[in-house]
Amino acid sequence: MSELAAGRVRPAEGPAEPWPDNYLTAEQGLGSWLLTTDHKRIALLYMATLLAFFVIGGFGAVMIRLELFTPEQDLMTADAYNRMFTLHGTVMVWFFLVPSIPNTLGNFLLPLMIGARDLAFPRVNLLSWYLFVGAGLLLVVALVAGGVDTGWTFYTPFSTMFSNGYVLLAALAVILAGFSSIATGLNFIATVHLLRAPGMHWFRLPLLVWALYGTSVVMVLATPVLAASLLLIVAERAFGLPVFDPAQGGDPLLFQHLFWFYSHPAVYIMILPSFGVISEIVTCFARRRIFGYTFMVYAILWIAVVGFLVWGHHMFVSGQSLFTSLVFSFLSFVIAVPSAIKVFNWTFTLYRGQITFEAPMLYALGFIGLFTLGGLTGLFLAAIPIDVHVTDTYFVVAHFHFIMVGGAVTALYGGLSFWWPKITGRLYPEGWARFAAILMFFGFAFTFFPMFVMGFAGMPRRYAAYPPEFQIWHVMSSCGAVLLAAAYLLPMAYLTFSLFRGARATDDPWDATGLEWRTASPPPRGNFGVLPVVAEGPYLYHPEAEGPHHSEREPHQNQGGNL
């Protein structure tokens, strides 16, 4: 073990229970977990629930990749295939990606990062978890009863008039999960507004807090519109109220407008928190202040606002007027700017940094690469002529997986590794973690890059059978999926291992800034003994006169140490 790594281990104090007073041990028994109002425990409840849904959604992905290994339709019927990708989509979007970072890392860290004892409404926080679990059970019932065949987008009039799946149950589940999001969102906003520690000005907030704030604004304002659109489907299916029925003069496209009014901002619900996580990790392991802090903040807010104005780019081939499409196309280019600013600023934070390649940093660098590719292909799709060519092909599938899986999921794993010592007080085996991070990058690229190629060549999405000339790409993709699955399972193994055998972490194993590192690992029930007072901005990795001027390079320390 290198010197650097040795500094992270807490010297043993004795054989007895090591941490007498922390949030994990403060109360015992099942009831103390199920009725807890501690944001840290609720984060763990969410983590366990989301893990279950990640496994269910992952199962769907495995079945899809298996079916697509050969051009023939051999593993399941076309109908079963429809149900399988709908399972994958609904579970992954609403029951994993939307709550992933906000409700696990966000729930745990937000009060810690701003120096508060809890979220503004601790009982609303618990309620949000129960709503989520209730919604999840409803969805599982729908899936077990026979599944849904509409795709995750529930397009009318198929979903209202023709589908023979359990659309009603699934729609209700998604509405309920939406109210859980809203509860979380308003809780986060109120917490950031009203519970910041003395001296924690808005422009001293860590970027993860800003990102969660932007996400919460989107959650509170967009999710109800999803509820509205799905309520209209429920009304039509359950009570025969014909809102979208073309035979009565209803407009099925109206549903798409309402649906995408939520579902495009939802993309930012999924990716904004990752931006925050990456900013924390990159600064810490480059030992640099973030480049362009205020730009980063305004980029987040810009994304949160303009995200509401671009939904029509999902409807370029729906027959909407060309003028409308042009406006949406332009706005979709506009919203790429703040994302580009973020990538630029991370890169410049790395520049002349004293980079060490610990596992969280490897995840973060992987994120930057994959997100950049996903973002750039988003520009292809914002251009109407190209979009018309690749609509409903694997190009689109590859694009949004680069953002939401290569981006958001990688960031989740990175964030988990980064804050794991804080959450559990344990260190995981660093070598395995680095291996998983690298495997995740290559496994991901191997799985999804071929989809760009075959999509551009015309392979449509949502078909179980396909012309043989696409097989080479599908086989590559399915093989990559095996690597990717291994990379996703590996952290579950080493993190679980660390719970029992991991070395005990110090309070601040990465020498990071941020209030969450100024308390014990794991933190006590009330987060801080004495509430902190903040006197300086975030990411002071090179305080004035302590670090070298940028013109004189400091020799690198121990690059990463030995594995």
């Binding site: 503004a120 906003i189 109220l241």
Partner: protein, 209 residues
Amino acid sequence: MSGGALREPWHSLRRQREAASFGMWLFLASEALLFGGLILAFIATRWFHPAAFAAAGREADIVYGTANTLLLLTSSLTMAVGAQAARAELPRLAGRALGLTLALGLAFLCLKGLEWRADLAKGLWPGPGFALEQPAARIAFAFYWLLTGLHGLHLLGGLSAIAWLAGQAVLGRRPWRSPAFEAAALYWHLIDVVWMFLYPLLYLDGRAA
């Protein structure tokens, strides 16, 4: 901290009160977008079928609708009095005002129930045997049932919350100066405001000519 209004993680009741109303305002923004989305769908469809929507508006029972509007407006007044009285710790006044709010809200629901029964008798459910000829009038009434139903559910939720809070306060389990009364009042006003949009859209359309 039984009997005290202060809860974790707050250090002062003033701040907690601020949070309760701030949190409720955020929730109201969310609710506004829920109804906003549905009303937008209503307006968009009406744009395509103005005549059918006007015909549907003429069929809606304006007597019930207007009476309910007056009831709801009055209940907002009593609710505002109730919340302020609770904050000023005037239990008698607060109890009466909240009681009156509950009574007005219940009266609204009863009238609404009667109205729905009359609507069904007139064949205004957009199913088989629908009373109007234009197909799009079915959509107008689909919105009518959905919007009034959803509004009714919200009202029921508001009533339950007020009844629960007032009940607790009367039994001495919740101090009158708890910020929850103000939050409940805000929510009640939202229900009122939503109705102010639904009333002209659903009842007044097509009556001018």
